[in-house]
Symmetry: D2
Subunit: 341 residues, 4 copies
């Protein structure tokens, strides 16, 4: 294991994912946070923008300039979609290693990107060099990667329970229904009336049905992992909680199976994966909040030859900053759990 220290900088450090990165890196024994870049908060002290970090970081946010990343070993980008693609090429050109927590480098096909993100991709050449940062399935490639596209929160929660079963050819690749529920921090720091407390509290609503940008990410990755072209009906909902995602996924069995067989497929697939917990029962969001775990449970639905899957993650940790640190650990040869347990 590597025990040397590295320097990390963050672009977009004042948003929810950036703040979570700061919270995690604070206790990482091998990382020194070098520079923090922010846009509207540039010039302000960390403690004034993120009061929960007062006393942990005595520095200010700066306006990003490429040359300010000199001396960093890795740069994290935690930006709204469409911004990282203008910055990543110049970071790679400076020979930095990069982890993008946004969606700009997750889809290989720039046309698909344009369709779902509703703007043209500005750096299509970098798309093919990006490694999808799902450590449980891409550990070796991530270790070598210059550019890691950190997975989306919903895709993490949907892909990890489905992948082993599709690979085992025990469930049908079509007709998968993924009903996902997310806390509001998944939408980033927001000043829209529709994300105000009085509008979100004591309610739930589906949103972006059929057009969510995580649909092609889920299907591309499941295709990569299973070798089959999957179709997932993805239905996202907004929950009145701050953090956490629950995905309830209905699949069709292609042949009769037993609880033990399913358990065995999961256990075998995720052996040696420190952040995947396979449960006997069904998971609850509260058990994974503030952790990098994904909890996976399942239920054979007797009367319908169906297998129901359930997963929970913290959207800001395993769904964003925690998984990014997990990827960084792999890229630099640190213990995979360093800073995350």
């Amino acid at each position: 294991m590597n025990t040397q220290s590295i320097s990390a900088s963050i672009i977009g450090a004042a948003g929810y994912s950036g703040a979570e990165l700061l919270r995690i890196l604070r206790r990482h024994p091998h990382v020194r946070v070098k520079r923090l870049f922010a846009a509207s908060n540039a010039g302000k002290h960390v403690a004034d923008v993120l009061p929960q970090l007062r006393g942990s970081y005595d520095c200010s946010f700066e306006t990003y300039k490429p040359e300010l990343t000199d001396g960093s070993d890795i740069v994290f980008l935690a930006l709204p979609s469409g911004e990282a693609m203008h910055i990543v090429p110049e970071l790679l050109a400076r020979n930095l290693r990069v982890i993008d927590l946004g969606g700009d480098f997750r889809l290989r096909d720039p046309k698909l990107y344009e369709q779902y993100y509703t703007h043209v991709h500005a750096a299509p050449d970098s798309l093919l060099s990006a490694v999808y940062g799902l450590p449980e399935w891409n550990r070796a490639k991530i270790a070598e990667a210059r550019l890691v596209a950190n997975p989306g929160c919903y895709p993490t929660s949907v892909i990890l329970p489905l992948a082993p079963l599709l690979r085992a050819k025990i469930i049908a690749e079509l007709g998968i229904i993924a009903n996902s529920l997310s806390g509001v921090s998944g939408a980033g720091r927001s000043s829209s009336a529709e994300m105000s407390f009085a509008e979100v509290n004591e309610s739930v609503r589906p949103y972006k049905v059929g057009v969510h940008q995580h649909i092609p990410e889920i299907e591309q990755t499941l295709g990569d992992l299973s070798g089959m072209s999957s179709a997932v009906t993805f239905i996202p909902h907004l929950l009145p909680i701050t953090r956490g995602i629950l995905s309830s996924i209905a699949t069709t069995l292609v042949r009769p199976t037993s609880r033990d067989e399913v358990m065995s497929i999961f256990r075998s697939a995720y052996k040696g994966c420190p952040f995947v917990r396979i449960l006997e029962g069904t998971p609850e969001i509260k058990n994974v909040v503030q952790t990098n775990f994904i909890d996976i449970g399942f239920s054979l639905y007797e009367r319908g030859n169906q297998l129901l899957l359930f997963s929970t993650i913290d959207n800001l940790v395993k769904g964003a900053a925690g998984q990014a640190v997990q990827n960084m650990n792999l890229m630099f040869g640190f213990n995979e759990t360093e800073g995350l347990m």
Copy 2:
């Protein structure tokens, strides 16, 4: 329209559904609340048990005895399952009209009742005489009924969006996936640790997957209304809100259709139904809380020949006490919306 007044009594008046009945009946111009029965709260003043009703009801809860219902025109039962079946026969024998808000008289088949409610049915003879109190589909029978089985909260939210489409034979009767999310008041007043604030808050959990007692109720009713034997995979979840249900239902289209055609099926089915609102978009729980409305929205999921349905209700109103009053209005010839708008 009937403009005379009637007398109503409530058995189980101190629970959440009973309290909601009291809240609604307080402003019903044709109903006088006669007697309120409760078990552990018998002898206590309404204002001490239900402080929100202080000043509205100046009386005390009593221990139920059959003869105390004399002089009532109707008796509502709002009891845990397994209790109403011991009381309803004697109420019917006294020539009272009865609305049971619990589950004891919803399933025609006592074997199914025993399987899902896990105790033997004590009054199987009354099962066949009960009318399922879903006014939008059973208006005429309810008007004549002596015993109305008020629908469950989840079934109300699942059946109303599905029934018109099954009858129109536009969706398949099999492979329906209903993901339902409910606020905690659906479980009744609870003193279990797992329903405590600290356990429910900032979390969501699936529960009773595959064994929930509302499964046979949904399938029996959809069979009655569509003439086909439906299979609904029903996945209930507990939400950290007090009131409200959102059901997200995935169905398979049997032939291509258009948004307009679906809208037209819904509009035609629910013409003249004052509490069904068909939306252009998707519904949110907060818009129906404290009302007797069900909001229904839908989405054609382009890539999967699927039709996604969404519905929201207040589980204590359209899912319990409000629907019970709607049924009472029909039974006594009052305007269907009396007390509910």
Copy 3:
């Protein structure tokens, strides 16, 4: 009692207080809602802006023009502070009766207004003609008023428990500490990041300490009612709930007293006040939500010759729209509780 019908229009009908007015007036037997004015929502149908009212109001919001109020008997204004003062004079000139739910006409002294609202008052002449709309203390004047200044939510919750005790000279007029907690709807519909769900949820914060605009309103009114110059240290806090205020008020007794004497002072002061409930114990917010009640409780703090007062209201009902309808009922000779029970 008047049993004729009147026409009411609302300026600012799309905000939280406006929507609550619409919810209440919908079931008022003597009021016909005539015109609904809104600014950014002008031209939109009520059901699209306030989906919870779909089916109750089939009309659209309009841009306010003075002549469009012709034919109205009363106009409610539910606007951010500083807007009503530009409109009220022309409404009064058209001989309309007016209830302003905002703060523009509550303070008699335009200098105090300027200090706390941080802009100059545009209609100082109307200030003196306004009647402070606290029905429990100003019933006769409200009945005759052309312009009613509807009280603020916090002042309603602080003044009602204090006034009888100050008048009875049982507590000191100085050194009163009012610690008030409010749900977020008190701030109106907001699109600021600091009112977003993720910022408000699972937290509480004091705000505007020492500079809140309700401070002079509380002190002016307590002075009017008691004849003494009171000093109230008012500390507002933001709660992670949608509706409701709890005020915890510490006062100093000027002489020994008994629980019975305090109870007797309250009962006598609020005899005949249908919306004031004096409790034996302490109040909870949830018991008054969606009602026009104020619940008042108190506690003699043995060791400190102190009397602690507690009150709860729904800030949108007794603290805004409900109290406005109560005032309207008085102005037009309707039963004081019409539409509110």
Copy 4:
């Protein structure tokens, strides 16, 4: 600094404070958790009782027996009041060092204990040997202590802002009003109906006014620290959040002062205290949740010669398990922040 490792056992490890201790100790580099004792959960695996800790502790809860603590260097007790007093003497006799997170050893006067805890103290002899574990004021004594009485959550939040000002004789020791708001985890794991989600959500209530067991703890400690006999009117409220306390404290200035002077008193008092953050503005609960910080802010209330103090803590961390670990660090010569940053 000590860099050796110690063994710790916990009695009452399955409750909220015990679980929080486990969460913190998991990342303490010098502590090995030896045995976990629980009552009703004895025999169950940690992962089944505390699913959030699955993968972190692979052991089961045991029934406490004195001899099972052999080999431990320290024993934490996290029990309901009245239980620790029966166990602590035998632990001390076995020469173990002990930290009691409950209230049994905080009051020196057994009569006061009996009055507020409503049962007789079983180990009055140990009362005098206990050191009150408030590290910011008792660092030296804690380092030597055999038995540390870990402070209550409310007292921690009330004493830390008041103590420096009382010692500086800038505020009056009488007439202090402390309004404290606490999340529900402060009450421990509960199965009472009044702590159920539906009863706590969307509400706030004062409780135990004038009789809360933390009143004598606050006054005894302030007396010890200031040399004056203080009187604090303490008004606790229950908030609909899981974790966190906000205390809003009104005090009377004994002479004119400036913002700078107050700031200087605080800074000087808490220099070298890593967990006390003095703010320019007012604190919010969310900034301290999951941390061992106390945030303190204040406001000079111009018109009333008052100084208002505000503090926030996480009741389970600085208010319980975090402060206990801070005490343990002092007792064993570890860095005070070890495991807590």
